[in-house]
Symmetry: none
Subunit: 405 residues, 2 copies
């Protein structure tokens, strides 16, 4: 291959794909990761659980591609024939691997099941393949090296694919990579896509680094990407654009790359030793669980209160007179204060939505209250759950950054 | 074709697909609709905006398929080459169609723009094609009929594809349809995929109806599919397999087709006039929001309590002595009872997890308490959020069904 990029192809196997029962998100998952490994993707295809058609597509891939990624068809039932098809295409024989069998039996044992006989084929392997461990399921993958080609099979359920990719496939591909793509994503809040685009128009027109703009639920993302022979060289090539974006977007950038607003706000709370409690009505109900998903949530999240009815709000300590006035700034602040009081947190958040449609907010309005030792304040936003969650977190971040501490 | 099923293939065109920037939802959209038109889908592929590779894939499709569906690559810019590739593959010449040009110019005029010259190619057509109107965008499709084959191009943006499909493509295909597919999915809980497979092994081996087995977060799904000349005939052909599956899986089937456990449990609660309150510790925290997402949740969900700390549990009314004993059946039941008392619901659910790893539960354990007017009971499961949520809902369904009501 001598410095040339490897030519890759993805084959997703499963009759569900051809029946439109599921969308092939695995192909996009893999495709999005190959540029970073210096691998060029030329083909993606989906085929049903049909051995003749799988072998035809495998044979074509084997003839034209350096690396073939295969997902799906590794289940225990008779309709899963990915392993059989690969073995037949390569003219090799599947044999049971005693270590794989042991691992599989232990897995069933842990859940208190006897292993059905049909699962035995998940313990098979062919001579040119090594097994790829699957800590998230019963189907290990195969890593085939033969005639200068690489063929990698991975389980179809996205959760399993992700684990197998991250733990084994990506690290092994990284070892071979001859060029790298380095990217940096700046995450901003408070711009429109077009507005952000105009601010960085010259960089959008440039190549290596290229700049892309994406509208996401947590704001506008700006993604710089540069190709180079080494990470060091790439970092050097990124430095100037990085500096300019940070200057132009100052105050609006809340994070980079894998940062999430939840984690950023969580870290700020932990750093300042502050705790949080949340009360949401049935229009919301997602902020506390989102914060709870952060591994460190125990250090700052006292709890969440989801009020399905007005009576529940009263049980949580909200003044019935304020509830009777209906959703608004006052109720959002009262909910924030009650959450803070009931759970003994430093900061309380309250959110309450209304279906009432106005010219400005055709989707209804969500009122957001933030309460701390100094009092409470409210903002309101169009009622769109993800946007509201991002607004709350961005507001919280602002107020935490403005607090001395 | 004489009663035989048409053999179809989908080709999605766009370099974004190969970079993993977007997921090909169009293929799944089309695929999901073909079975009901008596069209068998054998292949799906994605290819970049590269003329040589598009022509290669088109030529293969032309040789093996009766109907070819193509999406994407119909934009005005130079990188969109779907039209050019089809014309070249068929050896035909693209010409500007005066009617299409007029429609296009009018469209730009309505928005107050002059039509850029580059858009002119969206007004082209080849002799074997008819134009497919696109009321949602500037790219009309082509409907090619030649040598007994049909080739249909549609715009790539999903919103435009959906309109074009619904307004023109589907009605025209319906006129030709000679058979229909009817499916029924049985959703079960409490089996492994292999275990369920062995129970219905003979049906898995049969054809028309065919049976497929799928492991999902809410249990094992069994999907019957039958092809027939009419819906009535199909229903008749399904009846025996339907009866047998219901018999074999009795007690484990909780729903069919689009049913969700959340909605099933919600309907049962509404039907019996019962209300629910939930308390979860930080290992869970997702049951109340999942129930809150059901449109009718206001009719049965009093609220949710997410306890981030032991002190929050005490604030919610749980006995401190029981909390001190640590996670277990007793605490789960106490949480269920406290949720019920604080929010005044008929049924209370409590869930608490432990990180403690045992040979049986290498992921830790979640204890689930269910309390009602008659008392409380507990079950425990390996700590895996989706599995726990499904377990709680299945248990709740069981106890609601066993209550006279």
């Amino acid at each position: 291959m001598d410095g040339e990029h490897l030519q890759a192809e993805i084959i997703s196997i499963g009759t569900e794909l051809l029946l439109g029962e599921i969308t092939d998100t695995n192909a996009a998952y893999i495709a999005g990761r190959l540029p970073f490994l210096g691998i060029d993707l030329y083909w993606i295809s989906q085929v049903g659980d049909n051995k003749a058609r799988i072998i035809e597509i495998l044979q074509r891939a084997w003839n034209r591609s350096d690396i073939i990624f295969i997902t799906g068809g590794l289940g225990p039932t008779a309709d899963d024939v990915t392993r059989e098809s690969i073995a037949e295409m390569l003219g090799e024989e599947m044999k049971i691997d005693p270590d794989l069998e042991k691992t599989l039996r232990e897995r069933f044992g842990r859940y208190g099941f006897d292993m059905p006989l049909s699962n035995m084929k998940q313990a098979t392997i062919i001579p040119s393949a090594q097994s790829i461990p699957n800590p998230a399921g019963t189907a290990p993958g195969w890593w085939v090296e033969k005639d200068g080609r690489t063929l990698i099979t991975m389980p179809g359920p996205p959760r399993e694919l992700n684990v197998v990719w991250q733990e084994t496939v990506q690290p092994r591909l990284e070892e071979r990579a001859e060029s790298v793509l380095v990217t940096r994503t700046f995450k901003t809040f408070g711009y429109s896509e077009g507005g952000a685009g105009e601010m960085v128009a010259d960089m959008l027109a440039a190549s290596n680094p290229t700049l892309g703009i994406y509208a996401k639920p947590d704001g506008i993302h700006l993604r710089l990407a540069v190709k180079a022979e080494s990470v060091e060289e790439a970092e050097e090539m990124l430095a100037e654009s990085d500096r300019r974006i940070r200057e132009i977007m100052a105050g609006h950038i809340w994070g980079v790359d894998d940062d999430t607003l939840e984690a950023i706000v969580g870290s700020l709370l932990i750093k300042k030793g502050l705790t949080l409690a949340v009360m949401e009505d049935s229009h919301g109900g997602n902020l506390a669980p989102a914060l709870n998903d952060i591994p460190e949530s125990k250090l700052f999240l006292k709890g969440g209160l989801l009020a399905g009815t007005d009576l529940s709000m009263i049980a949580f300590g909200v003044n019935p007179d304020i509830i009777n006035n209906g959703p608004g700034d006052e109720l959002a602040c009262a909910m924030a204060e009650s959450a803070r009081n009931l759970l003994g947190s430093d900061i309380g958040i309250g959110t309450v939505g209304t279906d009432e449609v106005t010219r400005d907010n055709p989707m209804g309005t969500t009122y957001i209250g933030i309460a701390d030792a100094l009092g409470s304040r409210a903002v309101s936003r169009p009622r769109r759950r993800q946007y509201v969650t991002a607004t709350i977190l961005f507001e919280l971040r602002e107020s935490l950054l403005n607090k001395s501490g």
